[in-house]
Amino acid sequence: MSHLSDRPDDAVVGRALPHESAALHVTGDALYTDDLVVRTPGVLHAHPVSSPHPHARVTRIDTSPALAVAGVVRVLTADDVPGTNDAGVKHDEPLFPEIVMFVGHAVCWVLGETLEAARLGAAAVEVDYEPLPAVVALTEAIAAESFQGGQPVVTRGDVEEGLAGAAHVFSGTTEMAGQEHFYLETHASLALVDEGGQVFVQSSTQHPTETQEIVAHVLGRQSHEITVQCLRMGGGFGGKEMQPHGFAAVAALGATLTGRPVRLRLDRTHDMTMTGKRHGFHAQWRVGFDDDGRFTALEATLTSDGGWNLDLSEPVLARALCHVDNAYWIPHVRVHGRVAHTHKTSQTAFRGFGGPQGMLVIEDVLGRCAPLLGIDPVDLRRRNFYVDGQATPYGQPVRHPERVVAAWDQVLETGEVARRRREVAEFNAAHEHRKRALAVTPLKFGVSFNFTAFNQAGALVHVYKDGSVLINHGGTEMGQGLHTKMLQVAATSLGIPLGRVRLAPTRTDKVPNTSATAASSSADLNGGAVKDACEQILGRLREVDAGRGLAWDDLVREAYFGRVQLWAAGFYRTEGIHWDSTAMQGHPFKYFAYGVAAAEVEVDGFTGAYTTRRVDIVQDVGDSLSPLVDIGQVEGGFAQGVGWLTLEDLRWDETDGPGRGRLTTQSASTYKLPSLGELPGELHVALLEQAHEDGVVYGSKAVGEPPLMLAFCVREALREAAAAFGAEGTSVDLPSPATPEAVFWAVERARTAGPDHVVDGLPGVVPDPPDPSAPALHPTSERSAP
């Protein structure tokens, strides 16, 4: 067992504790960025002037009518930018664009004494546009070969040989929609100019360092002149990894030009129409199975809908390609990916980061092919699991594949799956208009940033003379309980009660050069750094103690008077990982997180409406650092995945009418999140036991993203329930999201044995081959400082 993962007796980690801010949450005392506005005198409010066109050249901007509006102070345009007019790291994201690229794109920003003044000022700004042709639908982009960025290929073996040797070959296409983050707190920034012209930006950001860098380059300043603080976020889910930077930069620009604090908070409609979402994907696939239903080969082309610029689309695509295998061994693989360029918001990180989209492809393949193979889907999935000694298509050995089996067996047993499936069959035989189904799906998710450099973190730990401890680390808190875990790590490392440790908000002037709080890795990375800092201090204190066994407070006091340093900067980097993003080969992940879930649903044939009757989950989180937090992540991730797969329905106007390119689901009344009514009647969640993870802080594993992909069981159960309205062996092509309407039409097709869209035999649907002239992924495509 490694030193890092070794857990002492009586550790504070492993205790089920409420969120460290729970008492502040429930009383409304927890402060979020926009709550600071009323506590800051003289604030100006920013409002965007938004494009009504999906693609157009801006030929004239007249801001003078806005300045005539009472309370309008200034209009920010491209001419005001002293540094670089770009909000991204790839120089494809102008902050004040000459060509607008999506409906809602901000042309300029109005600052007012009140939000009302800024809004009226924005309405008064005159902008002339010369409309340009727009690509809106993903399928339009594919047809027009409108792509951006690299086109990576993951290859192993020879797919032609694998398909030729298969007993069964099937092919088809799979489309899936994106997803709006709908963090309850919309994007918010508050910027002010500090002493000496330094700029202080409070931002709801998952990536304070990158926000700092973008603000600096827009202002033409050095990073040390800019400080970014994130108190906490009202949800992030990836939506605040890359997207906050431009808004922070506008606020900072306004503050430097006016000398007054500037607040920029998006209302929900602005947030939905201006900021990126989960990528929708389109996949063409061909798959071979042997007589036993074991994969022989998979050939697929995945195209993501990147929106108007690259943003994080390349690494999202890379992760999708690295997760198309999910938990299954596929001998011959060629999976190739492209990012479509469309005139929509710039799609971005969202919990799972392409992993869910890649996994959906293979789960869709299995769900559609199982009836055609005549194999029970539960058996089909089970018999394709990785076994020890096998590696992923990108060359990383799959360690601990037996954990998927253990979780699978536990779900089958504690969920009484065999008995309940018999009951489902009896129910279906007795009911003409309602059908049930019970499906089980596994998950394997790679943890670490694909891009190796991001797998580092820092922390700052202070021990004060009174023995109290203050910690800072590079990660941000968005509800995932990272700070709770870090407090537990510090208390465990130092061997002191939790009450002696406090955590200060994330700031770039405390811990520099941080990575985004993302990739589920933040507890691993920052936990390692916090522990390192604590151990440096402990090492010094041990020398002071010299075996006397002094009480903590006495020891600290003595150390101070002995002129011993009582604080330390900790650092951690993940060992043993490497990745070649050109060859798409390597060992990018520290480990895999595993899980299994089973869902039983009931579908009403008259409407397609459904209920989830019961869900059983077993998730591998290693030795949990904080079980209440981890179970919360498992349940919340699962619910968010169910939302993506069944309910949340982003619609864009793809017609040639005047609203072309407009997001038609741009508010909470048209875009529906899961509500209490979607909570399964019964929900059983267990954390896998005997799951110690060697080489990770206190034996734990990541938990942020993986549980989202547990939700595939609900989609597969809906598919099987729809199929139950048809004849035995009906293969159902189920759209994603599987809304009641989508399920209704699937039921209708099943009843009438309509086309299932799976092609049996070669050549079938032939995935677009890789373009040999296409660029590879940029070696640092996960992001790099400009």
């Binding site: 409420p18 969120h19 801010s21 729970a22 008492a23 502040l24 949450h25 429930v26 009383t27 409304g28 005392d29 927890a30 979020y32 926009d34 709550d35 009323v38 009302e116 809004r119 709908f182 309850l184 707190e185 009202g234 949800g235 209302d267 929900r268 409609t269 208009h433 968005m478 509800g479 309980g481 009403d604 008259f606 409407t607 409406a609 209440l628 919360g632 349940e635 919340g636 699962f638 619910a639 329905d649 038609t664 689901t665 508010s667 909470a668 009344s669 048209t670 529906k672 999140l673 899961p674 509500s675 209490l676 009514g677 979607e678 909570l679 929900l683 809304t739 009641p740 309407e741 209704f744």
Partner: protein, 465 residues
Amino acid sequence: MQRGESDVPEPHITVNGRPRALGATPAHTNVLDFLRGLGLTGAKEGCAEGECGACAVMVARPEMPGDGDGSRWTPVNACLVPAAALDGQEVVTAEGLGRPDALHPVQAELAQRGGSQCGYCTPGFVCSMAAEYYRPGREDFDLHAIGGNLCRCTGYRPIRDAAAALGAAPADDPFATRCASAAPASVPTRIDGFARPADLAEALALLAEHPEATVVAGSTDWGVEVNLRGRRASHVVAVDRLPELRQLSVGDAIEIGAALTLSEVEAGLGGSVPLLEQVWPLFASRLIRNGATIGGNLGTASPIGDLAPALLALEATLVLASAGGDREVALADYFTGYRETVRRPGELIRSVRIPTPLASHTTFRKISKRRLDDISSVAVGAALDVVDGTVVRARIGLGGVAATPIRALATEAALEGRVWSRATVEEAATVMATEGTPIDDQRASAAYRSAMLGNALRAWWEEAR
């Protein structure tokens, strides 16, 4: 006496026990922004249209019709209500319920069970749950109380567990004892751009003077227009506390005052109209039903309002009041076009009348993407009188399939005089699927809407069998 004279307080809201002057608050400023401007930033804006409940606060309201003279903590969406509309009223926020070192029982349960993750939606959940906690006569926690609160982090299980764990409020709990005395009376309010008249006569006079005025009750529709579409009114006239519009009587006809909230109508009818009993749980959320009025739902004349299809099936009529007197209009004749009606400028909906006896067989069917708290793709209200197995009278109202709510006249004809049987239902369902002129939009396709019309009858038959 006018404001400013000695005994008349300036317009104010009592927030967490402390009077807070409205001062120069503009008429369009909502309660949420007013509270946040005071530094009470617990209530949050999540959607600004009453869908997420992050802004929920508790308001002391009169007890439900027939329940007594006390008051009742009523949670509402602060983002929808103009601050001026709460002049003289009492509001409690999450900050007022408890402090970090002295948590309210609802706060304690949520905190210790992992009911908050990011915490942004939490103060709203706290207020919705606390109001349910203090509901007079509560035995079990009604989960519909939090159906209008969205959480993006937890998946709701710990919140459901926290609700289930709540015991009874102690008798000496100050929020419980507050309920024993009357809620604050309605205060006539006149600020720039906002007026709350004292009675119907004054309201009608105001409307005669300002025919362009916007009439609001719960403001659950108007608040969305203000917040999301930037609409501003030169005059807002609040009618939700007019005593003449808050009567409820159940006799030869059922007469429901237009300014009663849907929650009040639900409680006041006490299950006496079974068709409406099916509507309530599917109509928006408790937070909305606590503000939205029956008159407002018909006044906005939305083609996708859920009450109109039900009331069309019940053959309801509207009593329209004006300075010239009252007139009664059948609901079927009321809608004239998209959000247009026969209501004249200067007229107010006084009440809704439902004739009795009620039909023997009734149903309400709502098709939506999300099961609860969603806007209908299609809504069907149906009322049949079946005598000796024969349909003698059929009335069916439809929403979401035309520019206005409509009656399914062809389907009614296909049912009347026929034996109530599977064959009749099948034939009528085929007719029903051709009713209206449904469109494709982001909620549903036209084909699905049509299919749902026919299937509404089929499903009803199957369930009733």
